[in-house]
Every structure is written in C-alpha cells, then in structure tokens.
C-alpha cells in the first residue's frame, strides 16, 4: 500500500502551520501523531495535496497549569499522559482514559490534540473532553479562540474547526473536591474500539451527589452527554440511588448505531449495565 503523492511541510511555529493550512484551502491536512491519518493515507481514503506536520512545533507539546486548569499541548503524546506528574496530580481522569486508547506502540506517537480533533465517536479522548468540560484552544488567521468541548463535535469525524484552524491545546478545568471519576468501556479486546463506554465524574458532598457529568463513547454520531441522568443524580444520597434506573435513563439519552460490531440495543443494554456496576462499586468503596 502506498499513499497518493503529496507535498510535506514541517513548520516550526504555529503561525507558519496556520499559514500553510490557509494556503491549502482545504486541500491540506494536519499530521499530528499520525496514528489515524497514516492509515487513511495508506488506504487512499485521504488524498491531501499538502501534509502539514506539526510535530516540529515545540510550543505545541507539554503539560502545564493555567488558571485553575491543566493545559495539555496538542501534540503531547498519549504515552506522556500516563507518566506526567501534573496529569497525575490534577487531571488523573485523562490518564484513566488514555489507558484504553490504542496500544503501547500507538500511544508513543498518538497525540491528545489529534484524537480530540479527529472526533472518532468511539474514541475515549473526545468523550473525556466532554465529561470534563474541556476547552479547546485553537489558532487560525483570525486569531485564537476557545471552544467548549460540548460545542465542538457536529457528527462523526466532524467538528466546528475551520480548514485553516489548528487545535493548539486542551484546557481541562480542575474538578471540585470529592469528585470520583470513572472510565469504563466494553471492547472485544483491549485496545480495540469500544462497543460502548462512559466517562463519569460524580461529586459527593455530605453523603449526597452534588454534581454529575456523564458522557458516552460509541453511543452516537458524536460523544454524548446524558443531561437528564446527570440532573436526576443531583441531590440523591449515596447508597440509596436506583442505579438501574439512572443507567437506563442515561443510556436512553444516547443515539447508538447498529453496525457489524454490535446492535444499538446491545450498546444501550450493555452501557446501562456497565454504568450501574461501575458507579455502584465506585460509590460503595469510596
């Protein structure tokens, strides 16, 4: 297999990269970790005229703290998330999620920004961005903007990003104290795409849930929140929650597909069950 011919540029600044994208007029594509783009090129499902490699832009990589949030540069490798002390201290949910992303060998190249901007509906990092209410920082010839993860996805592999707009970082706001976070999924084999899965963040105050965030992967055209189930959880006393009902409610708010891997019914049923089991265990053993 061989990719169709393309031109390759590796700018060393964000400005130069955005300039290449603007001049490409939609015919250029960003190469971050390449763990999805490279197969698409090899299979000729993508035939860009210019590949803009952003791996040589030093300022795009790294983890830092900024205004009560953890800022993760777009080309920070997924493998880095597993060992970074700032992530462990302030955004451990991200590390929980990354453990399920691809394989050791792909995490060594794959980036956080690449996965978030690709918007694969069954991927962990877009759903995590949604559950953690991350802000996506971008740069284009029109300047910098920050997009809420909840406003970012418009469909499978579709986002509000303009063709000349580059994701430069993700901002994960600190969670309230006493927040439990969970990442659970069902996949045929570890590293495979999930058939269903959820990311949960539950804040417990004085024995009751005071805040809940639930997002699903592989349960619709985009990662999806379950706002009714989140609202239903608030105020409930830990130990007295009907998690069967909440799980069913949460899964009913999704829009899963039938495909060769699983039916929509299966996804909803399995999703509700892993929700009940995982949330129940986590709240009991807290």
């Amino acid at each position: 297999m061989k990719a169709a011919p393309f031109d390759y540029v590796a700018p060393d600044s964000i400005e130069a990269a955005v300039d290449h994208l603007a001049r490409g007029g939609g015919e250029s594509v960003v190469l971050a970790g390449g763990q999805t783009l490279m197969p698409l090129l090899a299979l000729r499902m993508a035939t860009p005229s210019v590949v803009v490699d952003i791996n040589r832009i030093a300022e795009l990589s790294g983890v830092s703290r900024l205004d009560g949030a953890t800022r993760v540069g777009a080309t920070t490798r997924q493998a880095t998330i597993l060992t970074d002390p700032t992530i462990a201290a302030h955004a451990p949910t991200l590390a929980q999620a990354v453990r399920n992303v691809g394989h050791h060998q792909t995490r060594n190249r794959g980036t956080v920004g690449g996965s978030v901007s690709l918007g694969e509906p069954a991927a962990e990092l877009p759903a995590t961005a949604l559950a953690l209410e991350a802000m996506i920082e971008t740069r284009s010839p029109r300047g910098t903007r920050r997009i809420a993860a909840g406003d970012f996805y418009t469909g499978p592999y579709s986002t509000v990003l303009e063709p000349d707009e580059l994701v430069v970082a993700l901002h994960y706001p600190d969670l309230p104290a006493n927040t439990l976070t969970l990442v659970h999924e069902v996949a045929r084999r570890p590293g495979d795409f999930a058939l269903t899965g959820f990311i949960g963040a539950f804040t417990v105050d004085g024995g009751a849930i005071s805040r809940a965030r639930i997002s699903w992967l592989a349960m619709g055209p985009t990662p999806m929140r379950s706002p009714k189930a989140e609202a239903a959880l608030v105020g409930q006393r830990v130990g007295q929650i009907d998690l069967d009902e909440i799980g069913r409610l949460a899964a009913s708010e999704t829009d899963p597909m039938d495909d060769g891997h699983a039916s929509a019914d299966y996804r909803r049923t399995a999703g509700a069950r892993i929700f009940r089991r995982a949330v129940g265990q986590a709240l009991e053993t807290r």
Binding site: Y8, Q35, Q105, R109
Partner: protein
C-alpha cells in the same frame, strides 16, 4: 510531491538519503536501508509486525513517514545482536522459549520487548500483556511469546 533529504541513525550507523514525502519509515528502512528484517504486514497500523524503536520508543514504522524520522535514532531487529553474532537478551529469550513459529511477527515483537525491558526495566505481567496486545501472531503462538517476556522480566507465571 516533495522530496526531502534526511539524516538519521539506523542501527548505530549514520544514514543520509533523499526520500519521497509519502514514503513510510517502514518502507524506507526496507528499501532504502536494507533492513528487510522490518516486516510490513498490514501497512495500516493493526498488526504490529513493523514495530521499530525510534528515540527509545517502540512505534509502528508504517504509521510514521520516513521524513519524520529526520534526526532520530532508529533501531531495528537487525541492530540488536552484537557484532560477533551474540544474540541480545530478548532474542535469546525468544529462542529459548520457542517464541516464534513462522517468524513474520517476530521482529516487531522483539522490538516491543526490547523497549519494554530497556535499561533493566522489569515490567509487570499486566504491563507485558498490555504491550504485547499491540502485536498479532497469525500462528497464534502467544504463549511462547509471553513465556519469553516473563523470563526477561523475571515474572513467574
């Protein structure tokens, strides 16, 4: 299409070549550097046979462009044995534990295992399994591969 001059280290030796932008690192290592020990299986990131070590990290060489390897240090399975032919500890463990059958997936497996145990690291059983899940062995010879990895890591099965 653009051509690019790259300089890198392959198995300890300097290499300087011109590559086409679309050439993958795996293709380049095979066709440009004589490293036919890099086995290209699926060529789209599924099988793991083409795994090499780039700057100390195990990566799939079909999922990286050759031009991206400019300035890096690449190790393939052909760079592991000593000049006198003495096998590396990983290679020896693979042989002792009969961890290869047809041998197609072997170079990739060996490179992941090499990265995993570099510098005397002792991965746990769970870490070994997680890392090895990135390789497909069509002979289904996984038990031998796991025995070799456990032996290297000093994990008792």
């Amino acid at each position: 299409m653009s051509d690019h001059k790259i300089r890198l280290t392959v198995d300890g030796g300097p290499v300087s070549k011109t590559v086409e932008a679309r050439q993958t690192l795996g293709e380049f290592l095979r066709d440009g550097c004589g490293r036919t020990g890099v086995h290209l299986g699926c060529e789209h990131g599924v099988c793991g046979a083409c795994t090499v070590i780039v700057d100390g990290k195990a990566v799939r060489s079909c999922l990286m462009l050759a031009v991206q390897a400019d300035g890096t240090e690449v190790t393939t399975a052909q760079g592991l044995a000593a000049p006198d032919g003495t096998l590396s500890p990983v290679q020896q463990a693979m042989m002792d534990e009969h961890a290869l059958q047809c041998g197609f997936c072997t170079p990739g497996v060996v490179m992941t295992m090499t990265a995993l145990t570099a510098g005397g690291a002792r991965p746990t059983e769970a870490e070994i399994k997680a890392a090895m899940s990135g390789h497909l062995c069509r002979c289904t010879g996984y038990q031998g591969i796991m025995r070799a990895a456990r032996k290297l890591a000093g994990v008792n099965a």
